[in-house]
């Protein structure tokens, strides 16, 4: 009994697709904002131009997620900015003044292409009309207007080179500061619910919404030259590719980048198309972008999502049911088990996903493990309570008949607790389907992917492409379990139930 959960876990783990380690495929990662996705597409197209297999894991959770994935080899290349590398990634490493950034990165086994040609620095922005009315031209001017509402991306709010440093440098008094998604911030600005945001100097929205970037009069923001980071082993695996990536040096000007961002965000052209056009114009490369249609996309996200849910839920059932039984049989162990699974549940799902990255990298494996952990509690608790709720007279009758413990468990107790156990599994499954949408943030794909892209591009249709199937799947799962309940619960219990509910 005690080894059973472990064995079941091992069995299920062996079914987890080894998608991360696809042989000879070079994986590109990108952050979840448009410019980074475009740069990722450019890198992918260059890889395909070298006749190499490639996969683009787009819209991953943040700098830390990508950097760790690069170190682990889950991804081979991703676009980064020098300012972010110095201030955010390497801030704890004591950078010797003499050493170049290149040399420091090499120590991590990471190489960096020369700067691509544009500086996408942070800027503090507000609507031009409001800035003119309040006569705000520089960041220092904000000191006179402590009542303005600020909406920063959560990354900017917390990073060393973000709000904490800015507030100190400029001695800013603002208290009304909120964290929100970058793409939503522009909408908040337009709506008037916030007045000041952080933005990237290459954002297409700056001209679209007629915004003005306030002058950084104290010279606070460092330079954020865009470059591609790649694993040094690529130099052996694909030397020609590295040369090709290096040849992008200085090729993308700030106006080029703004134009590409605008084509994607405002003209709604696919990132791959925009990237291919750029390579055709500048490098004379003729690479056809692969852009999936709605059906192909839906099939892919559905398969990804079902894989996440099915594997994690199956493992959870095999593991949690024995745990629930153990909890019901031994009071003290039971408290421990219920406490521990309850504790897991208190970890916010997003945080749990991110905790998995250092251990399991990115992709479906960490997402499946996080979903597995998340699915334990309802099953454990319902198995436990289902067994506890069996009337004493029935439990004692089984003992008095001289039935051995195993017979009592499998023929009497588990069938009687079946309804409760099944209800726990159903709860887990429905939660699982919803939570799995977050998997996209760590590269697991699924219905979260179109939702993320949709939020980024302010494209409701794309959001619905993820949200509707997720809702339908949740309902479907519920329906299947309702059906299973009717089939799996013995008639004798259903009769019993009817009798009770009628009286």
């Amino acid at each position: 009994m005690r080894v059973f959960p472990i064995i079941s876990l091992v069995v299920v783990m062996s079914f987890i697709p080894k998608d991360i380690t696809m042989a000879q495929s070079i994986t590109v990662g990108s952050k979840k904002f448009t410019e980074n996705v475009i740069l990722g597409e450019i890198a992918s197209l260059l890889i395909r131009d070298q006749r190499l297999q490639t996969e683009h894991r787009r819209e991953l959770g943040g700098t830390r997620v990508l950097w760790n994935a690069l170190l682990r080899g889950d991804i081979d290349i991703y676009p980064e900015y020098t300012g972010t590398i110095i201030e955010e990634i390497l801030y704890s490493a004591d950078l010797p003044d003499s050493a170049s950034l290149d040399e420091v990165l090499n120590e991590f086994g990471i190489g960096m292409t020369p700067a691509l040609g544009f500086n996408n620095t942070y800027a503090i922005g507000m609507r031009r009309a409001l800035a003119a009315k309040l006569e705000i031209h520089t960041i220092s001017d904000l000191r006179q207007h402590p009542d303005l509402a600020i909406g920063f991306t959560s990354e900017f709010l917390n990073r060393r080179d973000g709000w904490p440093g800015l507030r100190q440098r400029y001695n800013l008094p603002h208290l009304n500061v909120r964290g929100l998604d970058h793409d939503l911030a522009y909408r908040g600005l337009e709506h008037g619910s916030i007045h000041i945001i952080d933005m990237y100097s290459t954002d297409a929205e700056i001209s679209l919404y007629d915004l003005v970037a306030l002058e950084d009069d104290a010279g606070y923001f460092p330079v954020y030259d865009a470059a591609l980071l790649y694993r040094l082993d690529l130099k052996d695996k694909a030397p020609a590719l590295v040369a090709q990536l290096d040849s992008l040096a200085g090729m993308i000007s700030e106006s080029d980048m703004i134009a590409m961002n605008r084509r994607v965000k405002i003209d709604r052209i696919h990132e791959a198309r925009v990237a291919a056009d750029f390579l055709a114009q500048r490098l004379g490369l003729n690479v056809t972008p692969r852009i999936a249609g709605v059906q192909t996309r839906l099939l892919r996200t559905t398969l990804d999502h079902l894989t996440l849910v099915f594997i994690s839920l199956t493992a959870a059932i095999l593991f949690a049911a024995p745990l629930g039984i153990m909890a019901a049989k031994h009071k003290r162990t039971g408290r421990l088990i219920l406490g521990a699974t309850g504790l897991i549940q208190t970890v916010p799902s997003l945080a749990l996903l991110v905790f998995m990255i250092p251990l399991f990298g990115i992709g479906s494996t960490p997402a499946i493990i996080a979903l597995f952990l998340y699915s334990l509690l309802p099953i454990v608790r319902n198995t436990h309570s289902g067994l506890q709720d069996i009337p004493i007279s029935i439990r004692e009758s089984a003992i008095a008949l001289g039935l051995p413990a195993a017979t009592r468990l499998f023929r009497i107790e588990l069938p009687l607790a079946g309804r409760s156990i099944l209800a726990g599994i159903k709860t887990s499954a429905v939660i699982n389907v919803g939570t799995a949408t977050l998997g996209a943030l760590i590269g697991a794909g699924g219905y979260g992917q179109p939702i993320l892209t949709g939020i980024r591009l302010d494209d409701t249709q794309l959001i619905l492409e993820g949200a509707i199937p997720a809702a339908v799947l949740a309902l479907l799962v519920q329906g299947i379990f309702d059906l299973a309940e009717n089939l799996a619960i013995p008639r004798g219990l259903r009769l019993d139930f009817n009798k009770r509910s009628r009286s």
Binding site: E396, A400, P404
Partner: protein, 248 residues
């Protein structure tokens, strides 16, 4: 066949069974009676091993019962409780046969035994396919009795088996049960709180109060030679329905 020596069980600081000595004669029916909370059901539960005595020993067929041999001994005891304790998710048939199947008895002999018992307790044959919820209270108790008798036990323990039935059915079943006990020649220990039932069944009546045995003996002994005023009081409190009217 069954011998209890100094059985004591504490519940907190209170002894719910206090130094109980009792031995049952083979083939006889012994009735445990007493007011509620006197410990009569507890005593039954201690014998079948659902409770472990804090002091004292139980000897069954010459062997002292222990956690090691209790499971084996349970096959030789049948136990019936007030609400039947039938497994609601199993048909009557499965309820009756589960212990035999778990003992790997032959299918053929199980079927034969069930048919025998069904006739004995007078159940219609189609009722065995039903679930407990589809049976009447009386039928449930008959199935419970079949289940207890399935392995042909030497000792039958019955804990108020008829208390939940309505009076007419109860009267019928009392006579049926007594006939069954007599025809089988089993050793029976039955708990009741009803003096009429005790007198009807009992070769011997054991009267308990607050965890102790006050008196034990033939029904006539208890009435004619009460060991304690409580005995008379207990017997007289269970009035004949016409008694009150005749004294007016």
């Amino acid at each position: 066949m069954l011998k209890l020596e100094g059985i004591t069980i504490f519940f907190g600081n209170k002894a719910i069974l206090d130094r109980i000595n009792l031995s049952l004669e083979t083939g006889r029916t012994t009735i445990l009676i007493g007011p509620s909370g006197c410990g009569k059901s507890t005593l039954l539960r201690a014998i079948i091993g659902l409770l472990t005595p804090d002091q004292g020993r139980i000897e069954f067929d010459g062997n002292e019962l222990s956690p090691e041999n209790i499971t084996k001994s349970r096959y030789r005891m049948g136990y019936v409780i007030q609400d039947g304790g039938l497994f609601p998710h199993l048909t009557a048939l499965a309820n009756v046969s589960i212990a035999a199947e778990s003992n790997k008895l032959e299918k053929h002999s199980i079927r034969k035994r069930i048919e025998e018992l069904r006739r004995l307790v007078q159940l219609p044959s189609d009722s065995l396919e039903r679930y407990p919820a589809e049976l009447s209270g009386g039928q449930q108790q008959r199935v419970g009795l079949m289940r207890a008798l399935m392995l042909d036990p030497d000792l039958l323990l019955l804990d108020e088996p008829l208390a939940a039935l309505d009076p007419l059915i109860r009267a019928d079943m009392q006579s049926e049960l007594r006939d069954i006990f007599r025809s089988l020649g089993k050793t029976v220990l039955m708990v009741t709180h009803d003096m009429g039932e005790a007198v009807f069944f009992g070769d011997r009546i054991v009267l308990m109060r607050e965890g102790r045995i006050i008196q034990s003996g033939k029904p006539e002994d208890l009435m004619q030679h009460p060991a304690d005023p409580f005995v008379t009081h207990f017997i007289q409190s269970q009035r004949n329905p016409l008694e009150r009217r005749s004294t007016v």
